[in-house]
Subunit: 258 residues, 2 copies
């Protein structure tokens, strides 16, 4: 946009700007096999990559801001209304040749959808479906890279934001929330300490009036998402290996006291 380089259309052949969506959800949070993170994908109907799964997305319209385009695409693909789900800008990708047809820049957005959402309500893409994250099937274009960036963003944000609740229905138990963390981080968390930590962090969750839901064992208290936008103190991933804290070494060449 800066002007010390003039814009000459001959130097800059037509470029398209699209919005691609990384929509993540958690499947079968209580079941053993098949449970895990899944991403929304559509099967491409034409070349290139015909028949290959890709992230949903589309062109940014002339009257739209980027976030508006992302929200519109999300609604078209899933029927989810913005406000219901978390939606944030992820990153942009624009390597030459990433689409063989023309120069295409894409702005990727990350959305987190509740576990129970049914895709089929209002979707305009009947070929849409959830694809387990980390599977062997490669996506079209550079979408594997975009998906990996989205997953890593989600993993990191669970640490210092209450975003894990975005994977849960409006009312949820602490154990459900814990399973979100365990699945996304691929770790085991102590149920007792997790409970205390979550209920003790201001604004993370608020107790719902309904006292309990019954399945097996003692009924659990239901909670709703709290008002906080960041968690203090954060929940740090135990997966990162913690190197032993270094003793501040005496500086080399320093005048030690032998």
């Amino acid at each position: 946009m800066e002007d010390h380089e003039a814009y000459d259309p001959r130097d800059y052949p037509p470029a398209a700007v699209t919005v691609d969506l990384v929509v993540l959800t958690i499947r079968d949070p209580d079941e053993g096999p098949g449970r895990g993170l899944a991403a929304l994908t559509v099967t491409r109907g034409e070349e290139p990559y015909q028949g290959v799964r890709a992230l949903p997305g589309g062109f940014v319209r002339p009257d739209e801001d980027l976030a508006e385009a992302a929200a519109r695409e999300l609604h078209e693909e899933t029927g989810l209304r913005p406000g219901t789900v978390h939606l944030e800008q992820l990153a942009s990708y624009g390597a030459p040749g990433r689409d063989p047809r023309m120069r295409v820049f894409t702005v990727a957005y990350l959305a987190l959808a509740p576990v129970t959402e049914d895709l089929r309500a209002g979707t305009d893409a009947a070929d849409a479906g959830w694809l387990p994250v980390g599977g062997p099937e490669p996506l079209a274009f550079d979408h594997d890279r975009i998906l990996a960036d989205g997953v890593e963003r989600a993993r990191a944000k669970l640490e210092y934001t209450p975003l894990a609740a975005a994977f849960c229905p409006p009312e949820f138990t602490i154990a459900q929330l814990r399973r979100v963390y365990e699945i996304v981080w691929d770790v085991r968390l102590d149920p007792r300490n997790f409970h205390r930590k979550v209920t003790g962090t201001p604004g993370f969750v608020t107790a719902a009036g309904a006292p309990a839901v019954k399945e097996r064992g003692r009924p659990a208290q239901l909670y709703r998402r709290g008002a906080a936008s960041t968690l203090y103190p954060p929940l740090l991933r135990p997966s990162v290996p913690r190197p032993p804290r270094l003793r501040p070494a005496p500086a080399p060449g320093g005048s030690g006291n032998p």
Copy 2:
């Protein structure tokens, strides 16, 4: 890029994609007034916003990836070579009308430059200069918003990465590093605890051979940047007010023991 919407040039009038740079540095780290964060700006030579300062930037060339374009612009504006400075993608902006001439999408990059760098070496923009962050002067287009996003990114990243060293010359003292934190976060840090914390975090800094530099008082040990890409444990901003940890309240409707 997805294909369930065909691309029709009549629906999508020419769009340009640019890269804008938020280059931050710290001015006068030891002096009182005038010290603080500063951003690289250029004065616009033509309409719109003629004579107004703006972030440096330019068009992405057909054979360039986004990161390459950002590195090229950075070199053109400052003479800094990639590898010398930290450069990362920040966010993208594309509201309709943000440039009155045409639809312009911009991918912003954040760069952190050492304190002592002299701009004039190799710059092609003689009208470039450092503008104190937070001053009253508004920037052209939506660049105030982009700059604010860049500053917030830098503030947040100092917590869990060794990026503060990017503001320092190759060899620096712990006190210099502490002043970076104090300026960027606008807080006071205890010199003793900061020293212990930095030297005790694996990979943050490594002692340089040269024992000391003399100014006033006892000469300080010199350090270089370490190999770590993330800090564990992180240095948390004391500026965020810490609400008292909640006692996990007995759930309402729960069967308390009165």
